[in-house]
């Protein structure tokens, strides 16, 4: 505790962090993606059942409290609806209770949207950006691998998700060391993916996992060719999760439905319900352009670029000494 006024990260790393930010801005400037800034404090929150927001005093007349953003997603989508075109934002986001070797309560997120891109085009954009950044850091950029969520279960666990029952999934989890309370299907999939698949993703490759189950669509479109899956993907570098992307849901009615379902789940789990973003829903009613977007954790990206094992190695100060 005595020397915790010091930064736990080498000053050289802070210079490399600044260099990373400049390279990201260079890439997007070159591709005519506009940098924007949106509010950190908002009168609406994120309903996602597994993400908890910090709250503060109300900031305007129509809310009783405000939320620190967990991502800039909603205001960026409001800008998309007003016809701004391709945009990106780099900024701090906040998530309660997320502390581990690779989590800090506040972290730096890069989020960007490409109008008229489907998720496959966005994946190519992610590859191009990462290639550019890895070469700027004189790091080799290895092969890229893409697997669907179902394929990853087949390949690493020989589980066919179209056949396996919830009870069988719970048995798999118990065999792999889970000893807590009964898991729902999605929770069991989360456990197996995080502990048995993510850790084995080819150590030399950038891996995209695509077509998550429809029940884990979050704010992505349901796959028109297979309604049991969604147009959501995640990107991993040597097993480290870097980002989460969607071919975006543009239907405001369906979005409202998902917010409601989230809040119902929150209620049954004894969690606080979250005020939904009515302004986002209202803007979307006037039409949201077809687009794809992704959020990337920049602290994690810097970790993999510099070969760091813990997130605190790349932060000037962490939650423990901020």
């Amino acid at each position: 505790m005595n020397s915790d006024w010091k930064s736990q990260c080498p000053l050289q790393t802070l210079k490399q962090r600044a260099f990373l930010m400049s390279k990201i801005r260079e890439y997007f400037a070159h591709h005519n993606v506009l940098e924007v800034e949106t509010p950190i404090l908002s009168s609406a929150g994120n309903t996602d059942v597994n993400i908890e927001s910090f709250t503060s005093q109300s900031i305007n007349l129509d809310c009783s409290k405000s939320y620190l953003r967990t991502s800039p997603e909603f205001p960026l989508k409001r800008l998309l609806c007003s016809g701004i075109g391709d945009i990106f934002e780099i900024g701090k986001v906040f998530r309660k209770e997320e502390i581990s070797k690779t989590h800090n309560i506040e972290f730096t997120m890069l989020e960007w949207y490409r109008v008229d891109f489907d998720y496959k085009q966005l994946i190519q954009d992610v590859i191009d950006l990462l290639k550019f950044i890895f070469s700027a850091f004189s790091q080799p950029f290895e092969n890229v691998e893409t697997l669907t969520f179902n394929q990853s279960f087949q390949q690493f666990l020989s589980i066919d998700l179209s056949l396996v029952t919830d009870t069988q999934l719970n048995t798999y989890c118990a065999n792999f060391g889970y000893s807590g309370s009964q898991l729902s299907r999605d929770e069991a999939l989360d456990f197996l993916f995080a502990t048995q698949i993510q850790t084995k993703l080819n150590k030399e490759n950038l891996t995209f996992i695509t077509l998550y189950p429809a029940s884990q669509a979050a704010l992505s479109q349901i796959n028109p060719h297979d309604p049991s899956t969604s147009l959501r993907f995640e990107v991993f570098y040597r097993g480290q999760e870097l980002g989460n992307g969607y071919q975006e849901l543009t239907d405001s009615q369906e979005l409202l439905e998902r917010f409601k379902v989230d809040n119902q789940k929150r209620q049954t789990q004894g969690k606080q319900m979250v005020d939904v973003d009515c302004r986002l829903l209202a803007t979307m009613e006037n039409g949201m352009p077809a687009c794809s977007g992704i959020a990337v954790g920049l602290d994690r990206l810097l970790m993999v670029l510099l070969g760091c094992k813990t997130i605190e190695e790349v932060l000037s100060f962490n939650a423990g000494n901020s």
Binding site: N50, E98, Y178, G180, D190, F191, Q216, E241
Partner: protein, 189 residues
Amino acid sequence: MANVGINEFKNGMKLLINNEPWNITDVDMVKPGKGQAFTRIKIKNLKTGRVVDKTCKSTDKMQTADVMETDYQYLYADGEYYYFMHPETYEQIEASKESVGDNAKWLLEESMCTVTLFNEEPYVVVPPNFVNLKIVDTDPGLKGDTSGGGGKPATLEGGAVVQIPLFVQIGEVIKVDTRTGEYCSRVKD
């Protein structure tokens, strides 16, 4: 004891599992970006020292154990119980044979031991890391070897049997590491 949310777990917390106290030695979170968070803990059984990994939902709760470690001075044994005294309050406690277990052979009167109290009863008794004990029996026949290369068994007061160098003899006092049961050195008066 209290039910504690797993997201509040920290190293050193004591958990009650199947009526046995366990010590948390490592805590980490596994959190998919969008998805249920899991907490992985390493726990060590306070009595057997067995280490086990457990992974639970971060939203689950577990029971904590009422466990406290305190230093007591060993007084004497009466064949059924071992008696200890708190050095400041002079409060006396009796520890069962089971709680002392194999450590009985290291107990020297007046030595300070660490007593783990579970539900306010002595549960584990740990002697000092090093104790000085007199050799009551060893083979006297082997003399003249000072290389320390070989060894011979010796029985100590209290009944422990340790390997000692060939040149050490009956009646001498030796320093022993109670954690490994190994000879350290001779103790000269």
